[in-house]
Symmetry: C2
Subunit: 147 residues, 2 copies
Amino acid sequence: MTEINISQNEPIFPISTAAKLLNISVHTLRMYEREGLFIPYKKDSNQRSYSKADIERIECIRSAINESKISMNGIKTIYSLIPCWQVVKCSDDDRNKCESYNGHSKPCWTYRHPNTVCENKNCRMCDVYNNFSECHKVKELIKSISR
Amino acid sequence: MTEINISQNEPIFPISTAAKLLNISVHTLRMYEREGLFIPYKKDSNQRSYSKADIERIECIRSAINESKISMNGIKTIYSLIPCWQVVKCSDDDRNKCESYNGHSKPCWTYRHPNTVCENKNCRMCDVYNNFSECHKVKELIKSISR
DNA sequence: GAAAGTTGATATTTATAAATACTAACAATT
DNA sequence: AATTGTTAGTATTTATAAATATCAACTTTC
């Protein structure tokens, strides 16, 4: 049980292997990252490392771009609509000063969050980042908070 | 007061005038319409007619496409995330059979809604369609239902 | 009833997002 | 210490979304 999760989330693939698994170029992977679509693990040496969960996430992003024809800016905007404040349960005060809560163009995990509950969080480990990478999951979350 | 609203919503411009006001071609307007991004008024003769509010809505769509670089499919997906069920207050039963509630690729106003509270609604007149054409308003709505 | 405008539909062009190809410096692996 | 892979850049190519052009039938307007 736990073992499965560990192997899902353990960063084991270097970027070249990830690129092969996804059938895209190394550079495309870095472009997605630069755009804030995902966050790879980084080793002390600054080299990226990808888990199986990372690969699945990126497959989902690819599908949005190539099948659903949603542009990267479109995906970022959709991510920006995730009601993260409900997931991390931040305070009213935090929300007031949160760039992500008050914006609608970039995912929350692309911002720094000085002086909020998210300040010292590792977004790569956050439920907001991990649980809502797919469109239907975003909508499910919106549904769940509205009942 | 009311007068202002009437003049805002009264369909008075033929498509050629709308195109000139927006500085785009007639065909582009029809393309946006075919994609379900907006719904113009139609006269008995089947000819389209645009209000000032329609023009403003389309300016917003243009900005999303040209400045924010969100593709039309991206815009449709964002519209599909509007929690319309909260606005029209449809029943659980309605939701179960609603293609829009259960999908996440097209705005609710592009579906027929047989056997639901929306069945006989004119979407062009609906708050869902009118109040949430802009991204920040969609996010505001998501915020408001989550408190 | 003639002129101007609109309809839908298809074919074509244009603009640009997405992806690739370079580079030289640095890191890892053997 | 030599080979292989990674890094962050910029420059270029490719794929395709967005916009335009053209058409003949129909509608409105004066």
